[in-house]
Symmetry: D2
Subunit: 308 residues, 4 copies
C-alpha cells in the first residue's frame, strides 16, 4: 500500500510542548496539566489514509480530510491520538468526570495516604440559584449578603469535618475508614488518559451549557487551552460541526420544509399531529418538544407557524 | 428513593417471544435469530427514573420519557436492555460486523471444526456497478447477460476453492492452515450479544444508505423485525430522532438563518467565506461540503442562494 | 452448523426468580437486589459450543465444559450472561465500585433530586485500626470505649452536614451546588448492569481479603447469594479455579522444582540470584517477594529452603 | 500531593526511536512497524505513585514497583503507555487479531481501493499436520513431497481467484462486491493502537504455544523486538510473572499440600473426590484436568501420587 514504509520521527507539537507539565489553574485550588500526548492532526490524516488508500490524497488536503471526517462523524482516526492529563479536582466534580468509562485512570488513594488537605470553597458571590425550568441546573446568583453567611458556614463545616478526620487518625482508625465523612468538596488528584475521539465526546457533553459549572470549567480549559493547541485543525472542525451544530428531528425537518414552501397550514397540521398544539387555559399547553423547536426556529430566523 | 423495593417479575415481551429462535432468512443462505433478550421499553424508563428521581413521573409518561432520552442522546438508560442473536453471515460481511467492538461474540471456529460448507452466491441479476461519485459504493446493476457469466465463474471458483480445502484436509493438513484460502464469501456463524444503546449505534451506521448492501440487509432485519417488536417506543423514537434526523453545521445554520431573513447577500458572503463559491471553468468548482448543504436545503424546501 | 435452528424459550432460573426484587440488606442502610438477568449456566455452554462446533458435545458435559472454560480463562462465553442490580451504597464505597468500567450504570442524581437522607453510620465496636504491614488496609478493632466517642462525633457531623445542606436549599441554592459538602458516607442508589465475565473479575478483586470491608460486603453478597443461585456450575468453577487458586511466578516454580528434587542448594542459589537473600542486621533483610513465596510454601506444606 | 507540578519533557525511548517506522518482516510478505508510542517504564511508575502517594518512593525503586504491580496484576498503571503499529497481515490471521476489542484500528478498505495484490504463500516444507490431542492445533510437518504439490495448487488457486477478481473489476463490478471471493490469505494492512496493559494481555494469549503459528509470529515480534526495547523493566516482569507463571487450582493446591506432607493417601483421596481416578479398561480413564495436573507436577519435580 505505502510503497516503502520508512524511518519515522515521532510527531511532536511544539505549541503543546511549551505548556507540558504547567498547571492551568481551575476553581480555587484545582488544576489540569498535560503530562504527555501521542499524535497530532497529521496522525489522524495518516490513519484515515490507510483506510481510504492512495486515492484520498488527490481529493482532500489534510484540513479538508479532517473536516470531512468530523462532519461525517468518523471516529476511528481520532482514536489514533491520545492525551494524558494530571487533574486536581473536587471529588464532587470527579464523580461526574469518572462516569466517562473510556479513559484510563490512576487516582490518588486515601486508603494508602492521608486525604489531600484542601476542599473547594465557594466565594460569597458564587452561590447559584436553583433553576426553575431545568430541574438539574442553576440560574442566577444568590444575594451576596446571604452568600457571605453560606460561605462562612461552609468554611466552618470544612474545618469541623477535617478535625473529625484528624481525630480519627490520631485514635488509630484506618485511613480507609477515617475518610468516610470527608465532604465531597475534598480535592483529589488523578492521572487521566483518553483518546481524542472519546475526549471530544467528553467535551461535547461537558462544555455544554447544561453541564455543571465546575466540570464545565475543566472541560473548557481542556478544549480551549489544550486541544486547540494540540490539534488545531481538529479543534476548528469540532467547533464547526459538533459544538456549533444543530440536530433537526424528522418532525422538525418536515415542519421547516412546509415553512420553506410558505405552507403554514401544512406546518400547523404536522405540529398538531405531533401533539404539540394542545390548547390549555392560557394559550398552548406547555410542550417541551415544541419549545425546543421554537428555539431552533429562532436560531434559524424562521417563522414559528403557531405564533402570530 | 423507591419507598419500598419489592418482589419483581422479569419483564418479557410476548411479541418477541413469538419469534424467539426462529431464523429470519438473509442473503442466499444466511439468517439472524433472537436467542435471548433482557429488558423492554419499561426497563429503560425504570433506569432513567433512578437517575431523575421521583419528580420525573409527573413530567413524562413512559413514551414521552423515552422520546426525551432519545432526542437528547442520553445513552445509559438504553444500555439497560440487551439482545443476543445467532447470526449466519458471509465472512466478508462479518469483517464489517465485527468492527463494532462493544458486542460480545462467540464465533464458529474453523480451527476446531471443518469450515461451514456454504458460500454466498450472487444471482446473475445482482451484480452491482461501481459507483462513480462515491468511491466506496455501488450504483445500478450490471447487464444480466454479463452477470450470468460472472455467476457461473463464481460457482466454479467456489467449487475449486472447496476442492483445494478438502484435498488439504485429506492430506492431513491442520484445519487452521487448510482454511487459509477459503473465499471471503464462506459463511460463518456466531452468537452476538449487545446492549440496546450500542445496537442502535450499529443500526444508525449499518442501515444507512451508504452501508454495503449485504450488511444493510442484516441491520435492517434487526431493526425492523426485531427491535421494532422488542422495544416499540424506542424504535419509534429512534426513527424520528436518529434515522430521520438532519445535522446542520455552524456554517449551515448561519446560512439558513440569513435565508430566513431573506438576506441572500449575507448568505452568499457566508458561503464565500467558507470557500464554497470558487469559480471554475464551467460554473462553481466542485465542493463536497457545498453539495452536502444543497441537498439539505432541497430537503427543507429552502432556496439555494447561489443558484438562480 | 446447528442442523436446524428452532423455536426457543428464554432460559430462566427459578432459584433466582425467587429473590427477584427482594433487597439483600448490607451495612446499616444499604442493599442489593436483583432487577433482571439474562442467561444461565446453559447459555454459557451454548455459546461455547458455537465456537467449538459439534465435536464438543462428546468430550464434555455441561459442567465439565464450564470448568474447562474457567480453568483456561476463557472469557467470551461468560460474557453471554448479564445481571442487573439495584444497589444502595455509601458514596465512599461507590467510588471504588464505579472504577469497574465495564458496567452500565444509572445513578441517582443529586442535581435533579434532593440527596438521599441517609448516611452510613459506624457502630462503636466497628472502628478498625490502621494496618501496619499493609499501608492500605485495616487490622483489628479500636477499643469500644474510644469507638463510642468516635460514633457520637460521627452522628454529630452527619447532622451538622445535613443541616448545612438543608439551609442552603432553603436559601434557594441550586441542588447541584448545595450538595458539595455532603459527607462521603451519604447513601446513593444506582442500577448497575454487567456481564458475568466482568462480574467475576469484579468479584475476584472485591471479595479478596485486601478489598475494603464495605465493598467486600457487597461483593460477597453478590457472589454467595446471587451468582451462586443464578449460575451454580460457574460459581463452583470460579471458587475452584479463581478464588481458591494460586499463581506461581517463574522464579517460584524454579525454586519449588529444586525443592521437589530435594536440591536445597539449588533452591538457595535461585533465591540468591533473585536478590531475596540479602543479609541484614538481624537475619535476612525484608523482601516482599520472598515473603510472598514463604506464604505460598506454607500453604503447600513445602519446606522454606532459607529457614531451618 | 506533588509539591509543585513542573515543566515536563515528553519521555522518549531511544532504543525504540531507532526502529521507528522500520518494518520487521513477518511470514512471506507481512510486517509490523512502530509508528508511535506514548510513555515508558517511568510513566508506569509515575502513574502508580499518584495512587499510592509519596510513601511509595521509600518502599520501591522503579524496577521493584513495576515488578510488584505486574506480580499483583495491577492494570491501570500499564494503561498509561500506548503503542501504535502499522501491520501488514493476511486476513485469516487478522480475523484473530481483530477479536481483541480494546484496540483502535484503521484498516485498509477494499471497498474504497483495490485489494492488495498479495496473498500469503506456504512453502512446501511448511504445511502442518492436524494435531490429534488438541483439536484446534497443528503438530509436525507434512511430507515435503506432498507439500510441494499442495504449494503448487495453492499458487494456482491464488492466481485463479485474482483473475476472477480482476475480471469482475474489468466488467465494472463494484469493488465492495468484487472482493467477495478473495482468499482469506489475502494481505491487508492496518494501523493498530493499544495500551500496554491490553497489549500484554494480547501477548499472553497470542505468544502462547496454543496460539496459531501465524499470529504467534506477530505477537512474538511485538513482544521480543518492540516491547522489550520500549519498556524493558515491564518486559522482564511480564516474562517472570505472566508468561512464565503457573496457576494452581484449589484442588491442585490441596493435593500438592498433601504431597508436601508426604501424605500420599490423602493426595489420592483428594484426586479421587475430584473424579480424576476412574478406572478404565487399560489404566485410569482419560481425564483432562488430571493430565493438566500431571504436567504441572512434572514441571515442579513433584511426585505424581497416582503413578508408581
Amino acid at each position: 500500500m505505502e510503497a516503502q514504509p520508512q524511518k519515522l520521527l515521532r510527531p511532536n507539537v511544539s505549541a503543546l510542548d511549551k505548556i507540558l507539565g504547567l498547571p492551568l489553574k481551575l476553581l480555587d485550588d484545582g488544576f489540569i496539566r498535560v503530562v504527555d500526548y501521542m499524535g497530532d492532526d497529521s496522525a489522524i490524516v495518516q490513519a484515515a489514509r490507510v483506510s481510504y488508500g492512495k486515492g484520498t490524497k488527490k481529493v482532500h488536503d489534510d484540513r479538508g480530510l479532517i473536516r470531512y471526517l468530523m462532519r461525517h462523524r468518523h471516529t476511528t482516526p481520532f482514536e489514533m491520538c491520545e492525551l494524558k492529563l494530571h487533574v486536581r479536582i473536587p471529588m464532587d466534580a470527579w464523580r461526574q468526570y469518572i462516569r466517562h468509562r473510556t479513559a484510563s485512570v490512576n487516582e490518588y488513594s486515601t486508603r494508602y495516604s492521608m486525604a489531600i488537605d484542601a476542599t473547594q470553597k465557594t466565594a460569597p458571590v458564587k452561590w447559584r440559584h436553583q433553576a426553575q425550568g431545568n430541574r438539574q441546573g442553576s440560574a442566577g446568583l444568590i444575594d451576596p449578603a446571604i452568600g457571605r453567611e453560606l460561605s462562612q458556614k461552609e468554611v466552618a463545616l470544612h474545618e469541623y469535618a477535617r478535625a473529625v478526620y484528624q481525630e480519627r487518625l490520631a485514635a488509630g482508625v484506618a485511613r480507609e475508614q477515617a475518610r468516610k465523612d470527608l465532604p465531597l468538596s475534598t480535592y483529589t488528584e488523578a492521572y487521566w488518559k483518553i483518546d481524542l475521539h472519546n475526549l471530544l465526546h467528553f467535551l461535547a457533553l461537558r462544555m455544554d451549557i447544561h453541564a455543571q459549572e465546575e466540570i464545565r470549567a475543566y472541560a473548557t480549559a481542556i478544549g480551549e487551552q489544550i486541544v486547540a493547541r494540540w490539534v488545531p485543525m481538529t479543534w476548528e472542525a469540532f467547533q464547526d460541526y459538533r459544538l456549533g451544530s444543530l440536530q433537526l428531528s424528522r418532525i422538525e425537518m418536515e415542519i421547516i420544509s412546509a415553512i420553506g414552501q410558505s405552507n403554514i397550514p401544512s406546518a400547523l397540521k404536522l405540529a398538531e399531529a405531533a401533539g404539540w398544539l394542545v390548547a390549555g387555559p392560557k394559550g398552548l399547553k406547555k410542550n417541551r418538544e415544541r419549545q425546543e423547536m421554537e428555539t431552533k426556529l429562532e436560531q434559524l430566523n424562521l417563522q414559528i407557524p403557531w405564533t402570530k
